[in-house]
Symmetry: C2
Subunit: 260 residues, 2 copies
């Protein structure tokens, strides 16, 4: 087994939410960003402004290889990117919560996963030291190399297995994506009556703050958990012209009253 040297230079494939933030984080941490590959010319232009490096529109244009390729494309495209890098012997990792690292196996060693468990929005500044990185690699040397990179960006990292990563990704969909959608529905319901989400912002902040000291189950309040059928009926009446929301209300209330 070959001992990989420290990683000094990185090329980032994909300039979406994840790619653009990791490019900044890695540059700030002192890494040489060798290339950024952005197929979309609009993204290529905006990433060029953020991280002044060579921006390519295809991996085929790479002449001088980096120590590591960091793949930040959509899950469905990871396989194709891996195929196009078959000839390379550099470290190659993806950043997906849901894709197995076996996508890289076969003709190479030195591959893995470098999954930032965070929600990225291109326009918003982020505190990179707060991002947990979940790492997995084909061998110890690669894992050590990835650990060094994660350490330099964030300090918050764990080595986890593929099933654990998938489980964390699923949990994150509930705690982040679905929870945000609950706020979307609230916003929609308020706008219908000319009311502003601003009114329930203190409530949203406090809801999260409670979880500093209580488990989510202990922190649960509201009509469902206290079995207040009358209030639930009034809410369902209020939702009678929105069958989809009515169904959601019933199902989530039932779930609150069940085992979780």
């Amino acid at each position: 087994m070959q001992a990989y040297p420290d990683i000094n230079s990185i090329s980032i494939i994909g300039a979406g939410n994840v790619g653009s933030h990791l490019a900044i984080a890695l540059k700030n941490a002192g890494y040489e960003i060798k290339h950024i590959v952005a197929r979309n010319p609009k993204l290529a232009g905006s990433i060029k402004k953020l991280v002044d490096t060579e921006v390519l529109t295809s991996i085929k244009q790479v002449r001088y290889e980096p120590d590591m390729y960091l793949i930040c494309v959509q899950d469905a495209e990871i396989h194709a990117v891996a195929e196009s890098l078959l000839a390379s012997d550099k470290i190659i990792v993806h950043t997906s919560g849901a894709i197995d690292m076996s996508v890289f196996s076969g003709k190479r060693n030195a591959y893995g996963v470098f999954y930032p468990l965070q929600t990225f929005t291109r326009e918003l500044e982020m505190i990179y030291s707060d991002i947990p990185f979940l790492l997995e690699a084909d061998n110890e040397h690669t894992l050590n190399a990835l650990t060094c990179v994660a350490q330099r960006i964030s300090g918050n990292y764990s080595c986890i297995s593929a099933p654990e990563r998938l489980r964390l990704h699923l949990a994150a969909v509930f705690a982040c994506n679905f929870s945000n959608h609950m706020a979307s529905i609230a916003d929609y319901l308020l706008k219908q009556e000319g009311l502003d989400l601003e009114l329930i912002r203190p409530l949203m902040r406090q809801t999260l703050k409670k979880l500093d000291t209580l488990s989510p189950k202990e922190a649960q309040t509201g009509p469902a958990v206290r079995g207040d059928e009358k209030t639930m009926s009034r809410h369902l009446e209020e939702l009678s012209s929105e069958p989809e929301l009515e169904e959601l209300y019933k199902l989530i209330s039932k779930s609150i009253q069940n085992k979780f």
Copy 2:
């Protein structure tokens, strides 16, 4: 129409989450807490420690009336409390998001609603100045009196109608109670694999922080909104032994992909 004097003394009926917090907030704001009525002897004991005042187990024990009765009992019990105060000519208000103030109408004037749009947990300290109070009253004098009280506790108050209050309450159930339940499910899914909710806390914080600058709809990320069917299939597979969560996952994902 009679002009009501300023409110100086308040009796609080109910010593649950809301009652105990409002007792502290009102005391801190300089009000005389004349009585607290707590039917449950255990609650009576703990509230007595927090706010040193006369703690009664029934409204019938009240001898010297306060300027205002603040009803903090469960929705289903508000009517009975109102009945037991029929002989009083003092201001009487409830703190419910879902009950119409007409519960007090009939034989009296000077009634209303003093609804704190916040999630209360008895053991947790709160910043009372951050609580929005939603006020409604039978007449202008009562409303002025309630406004003064809200101003002294929080400064964040609005006068709103009963349908608006119900809508806010419903929106709050989505943005607070249901959103918290999403964290409960995440916690449950992680524990099954021996993983800790701590790992996704930075994600939960960032999810809420994004809403400082984006609407929830703009802030939405995840497999559903980007139409990543493959990841959703893997998640649903992961949930195959949890039909209730599977159904929730499908329904919320569908809702994200629809109009909101």
